[in-house]
């Protein structure tokens, strides 16, 4: 089993990547059907590592209900679909999680003129959420802990869900906090009428997921993620990667495949990390592309900064 997936992907010539059907900032097709987003770029990174060509990905849009069966049955090779890594998913679902690529928590989007400023104001509110999400559980805990009541309105279809909030059926929309700015920016008529409640009320580490039992494939995914962290840490970005190739720093040389045979160990070409940074970018490049101040879904990096800056991103050494 080990090695099956990589061999199959190579034979197929493209990576099958399960993504969210429409989560602005993370994954969404534009009106021309071209996918873009933070998680989409991680899929591209995987393709770049394997084929040296970031475009060799096929995106499979998955509803929250379909995402786990799709990865389990092999319909997709890797899941980059706002999956919160949890113990039960790791075990009972037969998954393995990459290092988290995005740290967030449960967030609430509310209407400004309702005068809600904190979670405590939501007592008795109707709250829209997706079924079977970790958010659904977190909300139950957040409200129970404060002795408050709410009416869940649970809708699977993401369009219908957002529609229910926007039309006023719900007082609040709850999702991963990182997903809400996208909703506000794209789906509301006037984004200024809606605010995100401050504060983070739960842990939602989003990670890529693969099937259990294929260690080689799991290793590759894991190190693709670390490569983006380490590249940022070493100051190797899309803009300067070619110059950095000439760097004498052995760590940079190892990363970019100038020396060593990390690629061979992973079962891909030795310039795999170079290809990632060159074609997709390091973590910061990817983040800024989709959540930077100029993007429609601007998001502070919060904990999503390197450990060296007090954040949670910590790439293991690539020796």
């Amino acid at each position: 089993n080990s090695g099956d997936t990589l061999a199959a992907v190579k034979a197929r010539g493209e990576v099958l990547c399960g993504v969210h059907p429409a989560r602005h900032g993370f994954a969404a097709p534009d009106s021309q059907g071209k996918w873009s987003g933070f998680e989409v770029d991680f899929c591209h990174a995987v393709a770049a590592a394997i084929f040296g060509d970031a475009s060799k990905v096929r995106f499979v849009a998955l509803s929250s209900q379909q995402r786990f069966p799709a990865i389990q049955s092999g319909e997709v090779d890797v899941l980059a679909r706002n999956v919160t890594a949890t113990l039960s998913r790791d075990t009972a679902l037969g998954l393995n999680f990459s290092p988290p690529i995005f740290y967030t928590g449960t967030g609430f989007l509310v209407r400004k003129d309702d005068g809600i400023t904190k979670v405590e104001d939501l007592d008795g509110a109707a709250i829209c959420m997706a079924p079977g999400s970790t958010t659904e559980r977190n909300v139950a805990q957040i409200f129970a802990a404060r002795g408050m009541k709410y009416t869940p309105v649970v809708i699977e279809n993401n369009k219908q869900l957002v529609d229910a909030y926007v039309t006023g059926r719900c007082d609040a929309l709850t999702k991963d906090k990182a997903a809400l700015p996208g909703v506000r920016a794209v789906d509301t008529e006037n984004p200024a009428d809606h605010v995100l409640l401050p504060g983070i009320y739960s842990k939602e580490p989003l990670a890529m997921a693969v099937r259990q039992g294929d260690d080689q494939w799991y290793d590759l995914i894991k190190w693709v993620v670390y490569a983006t962290f380490n590249a940022e840490e070493m100051g190797v970005g899309q803009a300067n990667v070619d110059e950095m190739k000439a760097s004498t720093d052995p760590d940079v040389q190892t990363l970019l495949g100038v020396i060593g045979d990390n690629g061979t160990k992973l079962g891909v070409g030795n310039t795999w990390a170079y290809d990632i940074v060159k074609q997709v970018g390091n973590y910061k490049d990817i983040y800024m592309r989709h959540f930077g101040p100029d993007s429609p879904v601007a998001l502070d990096r919060d904990q999503n900064v390197l450990w060296t800056e007090g954040g949670l991103l910590y790439g293991l050494p690539m020796q």
Binding site: D4, A8, P21, A22, P29, S31, Q32, G33, K34, R58, F59, V60, A61, L62, S63, Q65, Q66, P69, Q72, S73, G74, E75, E156, N157, K159, Q160, V162, D163, V166, T167, V186, D187, T188, E189
Partner: protein, 348 residues
């Protein structure tokens, strides 16, 4: 009968009837006036500015003009929409041609459908002749509805016939298998079958074997359709007098010869109206794929109605989709009525 007679008999035959007529006519006129006022007089037909629509008191048909492409074609790559238009033309021509009785011979129909299927496949998938490859996960809109529907009927009808024959077969095992299969599937909602097709079916396959999701869903709907249709066909089979079997036996025809030449042609003619009803139902049922996120015309429309600027005009958009279904459903039932007439007059 003179017009006055007719009016008297059908509308004003008694005081009570007259009253009823007047009240209904009043309500009806009011309704028509509203439709006219809202749907025609004050309607906005073409504009790309939603504010123009908002200012109007009537319908905003402009939303359909403005959004027709994502509504009709879903996620399919924008620059490749011409392929879908071409596909629909080929599809409709093929269907219309094959519905005409004078074309009913296999030597013409089989090649026709093969050619149509190949060219539709080439257009939809691409990847050859310099066409860009488009995986099934990006297919959508009306073409997807058409493909689901056609797949359902083409795959479902033979299965239905087999199940119906199985249920009437002289072999108890065949009967038992068919009965359990038919009744179990008819007892559950279509949604659960779609769930199985999407979420569970892959687990039934050996490791490494993959079946395209669209194909799985089509098969799911088709089998569901087949179970209902099998019951209809069974009704037709039961209506065939025993004498027909005996006459066939005395001509020494075999079971399959009897079935295919004598019994089925008659049974299918007998239950044609019910068969048509279920075929129309199959067309409506394709809309269930919204639940599993396939981008048929209905899903595509709900997605388009997500646009905050145009969201307000959902009534117009859904009326449009309803009209599409009504159009095809009505065309099918008109055609079926015509076929019944042909059968009655011995033309076919």
């Amino acid at each position: 009968m003179s017009a006055a007679d007719w009016l008297k008999r059908n509308l004003f035959s008694s005081v009570w009837q007259t009253l009823l007529t007047l009240v209904t006519a009043a309500v009806l006129l009011r309704f028509f006036w509203f439709v006219l006022d809202w749907g025609v007089i004050n309607a906005v037909w073409v504009t790309s500015d939603p504010d123009v629509c908002r200012a109007a008191t009537g319908a905003c048909w402009a939303v359909i003009v403005e959004k027709h492409r994502p509504m009709l074609f879903g996620l399919y790559p924008y620059d490749e929409h011409w392929r879908l238009v071409l596909m629909m033309v080929i599809y409709l021509v093929t269907v219309v041609v094959s519905l005409m009785p004078r074309n009913w011979n296999l030597r013409f129909l089989v090649p026709l459908w093969l050619v149509a299927a190949v060219s539709i496949g080439v257009l939809m998938f691409g990847g050859v002749l310099g066409l860009r490859y488009v995986p099934t996960s990006e297919w959508g809109g009306l073409p997807l509805t058409m493909l689901l529907f056609t797949g359902t009927v083409l795959f479902g009808m033979p299965v239905a016939v087999l199940l119906a024959l199985g249920r009437r077969a002289p072999l108890p095992v065949a009967r038992g298998v068919s009965v359990v299969f038919i009744e179990a599937l008819r007892g559950v909602p279509l949604i659960t079958i779609l769930f199985v097709a999407v979420n569970v079916f892959p687990l039934f396959l050996p490791a490494g074997v993959q079946v395209d999701k669209l194909l799985r869903i089509t098969i799911g709907i088709a089998i569901f359709f087949a179970c209902y249709q099998a019951e209809v066909i069974r009704g037709g089979l039961q209506a065939i007098p025993r004498g027909q079997y005996e006459a066939a036996a005395s001509l020494s025809l075999t079971y399959w010869q009897t079935t295919s030449r004598i019994i089925l042609p008659q049974a299918l003619r007998i239950c044609l109206p019910a068969i048509t009803n279920h075929i129309i139902a199959a067309m409506k049922n394709t809309s269930f794929v919204i639940i599993i996120g396939l981008f048929d015309i209905l899903t595509a429309t709900t997605a388009v109605m997500q646009d905050p600027l145009w969201r307000k005009f959902y009534v117009e958009a859904y009326l449009f989709v309803a009209a599409v279904y009504l159009f095809f459903g009505y065309a099918l039932s008109l055609y079926a009525r015509k076929v019944e007439k042909w059968i009655a007059s011995g033309r076919i």
